[in-house]
Amino acid sequence: MLLGPALTVSAILFTLGVAGVMLRRNAIVIFMCIELMLNAVNLTFVALAQQLGLDGQVFVFFVMTVAAAEAAVGLAIIIALYRHRDTVNLENINLLRG
């Protein structure tokens, strides 16, 4: 019964995450926006689990595990980047830009 509204909320939340990634240049804030997107997907899983069975909730578990691993590795990369460049602003980290 809450499926439709929950899916709408998760669509808006995912879009806000994408907007954040496109809008900001601070690597840490971009990382947080990726967490926003992961959480939007989790909300979709939980909402659909009400109608399609508990597998959705189990999958949220795995998504959280991957998010934790991703946060640890990603933040380590940001720290390494900061050591080399003294900045986390992606404007100044443009070695791969054509």
Binding site: M1, L2, G4, P5, A6, T8, V9, A11, I12, L13, F14, T15, L16, G17, V18, A19, G20, M22, L23, R24, R25, N26, I28, V29, F31, M32, C33, E35, L36, N39, N42, L43, A47, Q50, Q51, L52, G53, L54, Q57, V58, F61, F62, M64, T65, A67, A68, A69, E70, A71, A72, V73, L75, A76, I77, I78, I79, A80, Y82, R83, V88
Partner: protein
Amino acid sequence: MLVLFWVASLAVIASAILCITRRSPVASALWLVSVLFHLSVLYVLLDAQFIAAVQILVYAGAIMVLFLFVIMLLNLGRLGPPDMRGVRGKLITAAAGFILVGELVALRRVALTSGFVLEEGTIARLAEEQGVVQVIARPLFEQYLIPFEIASVMLLAAVVGAVVLAKRKL
């Protein structure tokens, strides 16, 4: 219950907007904590009580502490120059955002195959019969045992990777 759902939803969306627009990374991180807390309210309303508890423990607890710790470690708490993109970037973002939200909302019209759909309240009834934790633990440790074990190996790899990447000299 519906009122609570909409209040929590509005709180989620408002906190998310503040999270992506605040200039200070610390403020962004704290608004993200607010998003995660209100999302766990939504999980409770959607019959996922255990997921809600894990959300607060793992996300709002562990992951966000990691974020704040890195912000503190890199001394990014003070206000730097604004890091928003210019007018052109904002326009592109707005256009892309509207297209994306339109697509996602349009996806809602796809009907679920009726053969798979459980009747309403099945999950709540199962949780009442077996307990909130057992209802998840059973599929997790029976049907999804191998993915569970693989996840533990992945976590180990992530720990090793984080140390290797962040350490000055090995």
